[in-house]
């Protein structure tokens, strides 16, 4: 067991209160910084992609995990970020200016989509966002003048102050920088007044309203923030893909993002990152698994989607708190080793609660 003894106020709100945490996370960052020196180009590209997905998952987590607004259409914000960034760069804007602008444009789109969230919630909001993402996909396909339509559009190479960032190593560092920056910003934002108002709206709209939280503004704002972060991921994704076509941002990407958030564990940024890592590694794991199977079975397609479904079903049924919940349990086990009580995390028996008459 660990007992905290605080002698200063700032100890109470340190992000990493314990020395062991600081050492471990420091080692992790050092490892991430050192990876390009021994990893292959292919691995670096993949790692960069995982980092981009981490950003996108954190963006969705702000909305779904913290504010309780379900979005089944976040691929549309990835797409808007990616296309806005690529278009701005072809218009001659430098990388460093175009990236935040793309995030802002995506955030603007998020604010617009957030307006229905004032009137509809829950399943209905999920359907609105789903429909929105399908509409966006079609519009991108038809708007040839800007997006190149279904033919696609080439993304210019990124550079910063004359320094090319298109090499895998440089681009990996760019992705790492933005992942850490977004993580730090969101971590601090989510424990500030803004973040607490998000959580308040998630847990009880009526109570939040009674406490003076402007519920409507918080909902729309959460959409904007989430879309902005996801749009940033989209802008980076544009460079990762190199050639944008509408079918890179389909419903399946939206569902993948939701999978990351759910499997990672609602309401925690660590969960978003763990979920993003798991989901993006799943196809690789299935490919590795296929190599072990007999040839006739290995040639079957459809195994990837089956495994993704099975993993999701497993988490929904047996570990609703997600990977983050599992992590917390393991840590509790570790910290209180011989005295661990399983029932601390046991789910209570529950009955059907209607959400029809809220």
């Amino acid at each position: 067991m660990r007992f905290d003894y605080h002698t200063q106020y700032r100890q109470g709100f340190a992000l990493l209160p314990h020395t062991s945490d600081r050492v471990l996370y420091g080692l992790l960052i050092a490892l991430l910084l050192a990876v390009p020196f021994f990893a292959s180009t292919y691995l670096l590209g993949e790692l960069g992609y995982v980092l981009i997905l981490c950003i996108a998952a954190m963006g969705l987590m702000v909305l779904t995990g913290f504010t309780g607004q379900v979005s089944l259409g976040h691929a549309s914000f990835v797409a808007i970020g990616a296309y806005a960034h690529a278009w701005l760069m072809t218009q001659g804007l430098p990388f460093a200016l175009s990236l935040p602008l793309a995030a802002l444009i995506s955030a603007g789109a998020g604010l617009v989509v957030g307006i229905p969230a004032i009137r509809v919630s829950g399943l209905y909001l999920a359907m609105v966002t789903l429909a929105f993402s399908i509409v966006v996909e079609q519009v991108i396909g038809l708007w040839r003048g800007v997006t190149g339509g279904f033919m696609g559009m080439l993304v210019p190479n990124p550079d910063l102050l004359g320094l090319s960032l298109s090499s895998p190593r440089a681009f990996y560092y760019v992705c790492l920088f933005f992942t850490l920056a977004v993580l730090l910003v969101l971590l601090n934002l989510m424990r500030s007044g803004i973040g607490r108002s998000f959580v308040g709206v998630r847990d009880s709209e009526a109570a939040a309203y009674a406490l003076g939280i402007p519920v409507k503004r918080v909902k729309v704002g959460a959409f904007g923030l989430s879309a902005g972060v996801t749009g940033l991921a989209g802008a980076l994704m544009a460079h990762h893909i190199g050639y944008l076509t509408p079918d890179a941002f389909t419903l399946l990407l939206s569902l993948d993002l939701v999978l990351m958030v759910v499997i990672g564990g609602m309401g925690s940024l660590r969960g978003a990152i763990l979920g993003a890592i798991l989901i993006s590694l799943l196809p690789r794991a299935v490919a590795a698994l296929k190599a072990l199977l007999p040839d006739a079975m290995a040639r079957q397609s459809g195994m990837e989607i089956f495994v993704a479904g099975a993993v999701l079903a497993f988490f929904v049924l047996f570990e609703p708190m997600g990977l983050n919940g599992r992590w917390l349990k393991l840590r509790a086990l570790w910290e209180s080793f011989p005295l661990y009580r399983r029932d601390t995390f046991r789910r209570q028996k529950s009955y059907m609660r209607s959400e029809r008459n809220r």
Binding site: M127, A131, Q138, V262, I305, A308, G309, S350, R356
Partner: protein
């Protein structure tokens, strides 16, 4: 008849035919949602499973269509019953979102199994009405479309009678209105809910068997779930007649949009309708009388 009017009549006929399928799918989703408050995203994949099994039985095994129809319907009923009894029932009491995620997971697994078992190529099979058509008042309607419209009407009527006059149907209504009260009155809520799933599975089987010959037997058939959602929202969430009317309206809107509006609108018309209805009139056409927040 002028060519304008003829075109309009032809579009209307096509729209009603396509809309009937949407209505049938929407009916299945509303049935499950009313009973268990689970929005079944796996419904489209039940359609896919039904279509592929029908293809395998008709085209590969050489069975007659009239044998395959009840066989597949029965099998899908059992499958849907099993899905509820073994999997979906476990998440009772969790937020609605858990149900959405679980049915999406089931949908993924079914889709994966179908492409592992039947391959990923598009298939097609013949029905007794393939290739023939009837001329009514100067417009040509494929016989298959007429059969679809007829069977949707028949199923809707049967469902109405079932819910109105049978003990089981009334038990289902009771369980959907208040599970605890129904349970205290001796309704076996768990079993009744699973039976609702089975009923929805049967409608999915019929929809899949009739839809597949019009389009193709393909795993992308599941996308019809999304159109059905638009139909449900337009008709008023949780209303069975609303689902049928909404489905037919969505079919009509799509057909008209394809001709009278600009290129590309046809594909997104259903979704635009969904968004607009939810923003402007969330209760839809046949929304329930007492106020409910959406």
């Amino acid at each position: 008849m002028s060519s304008h009017l003829e075109l309009f009549a032809q579009l209307t006929a096509n729209g009603v035919a396509v809309g009937s399928i949407y209505a049938l799918v929407a009916l299945g989703i509303v049935l499950i949602h009313k009973a268990t408050e689970v929005l079944n995203f796996a419904h489209g994949d039940l359609l896919v499973v039904a279509a592929f099994s029908a293809w395998a039985l008709i085209d590969k095994a050489g069975l007659s269509f009239w044998l395959v129809l009840p066989l597949v319907a029965l099998a899908m009923g059992v499958l849907a019953y099993g899905i509820d009894a073994l999997v979906v029932r476990r998440i009772v009491g969790q937020p609605q979102f858990a149900g959405v995620m679980l049915t999406i997971a089931i949908a993924f697994m079914m889709r994966g199994l179908v492409s592992m078992g039947f391959g990923t190529e598009s298939q097609s099979y013949a029905t007794p009405w393939t290739g023939s058509s009837t001329e009514i008042l100067g417009i040509t309607v494929a016989d298959l479309s007429l059969v679809i419209m007829g069977s949707v009407l028949l199923i809707a009527a049967l469902l109405w009678l079932f819910f109105r006059y049978t003990r089981l149907g009334i038990a289902m209504q009771a369980a959907s209105q208040n599970q605890l009260a129904a349970h205290l009155n001796g309704v076996r809520v768990k079993r009744v809910n699973s039976l609702v799933w089975a009923l929805a599975g049967v409608t999915a089987a019929v929809a899949g068997i009739f839809l597949a010959p019009i389009t193709l037997v393909d795993t992308s058939l599941w996308l019809i779930t999304l159109k059905a959602l638009a139909a449900i929202v337009l008709g008023g969430f949780g209303s069975l007649p609303g689902a049928v009317i909404g489905g037919i309206l969505i079919g009509l809107i799509e057909q008209y949009a394809g001709v009278y509006l600009m290129h590309g609108v046809k594909d997104i018309a259903a979704y635009l309708v969904l968004i607009l209805v939810l923003i402007l009139r969330p209760t839809g056409i046949m929304g329930e009388a007492h106020g409910r927040r959406v």
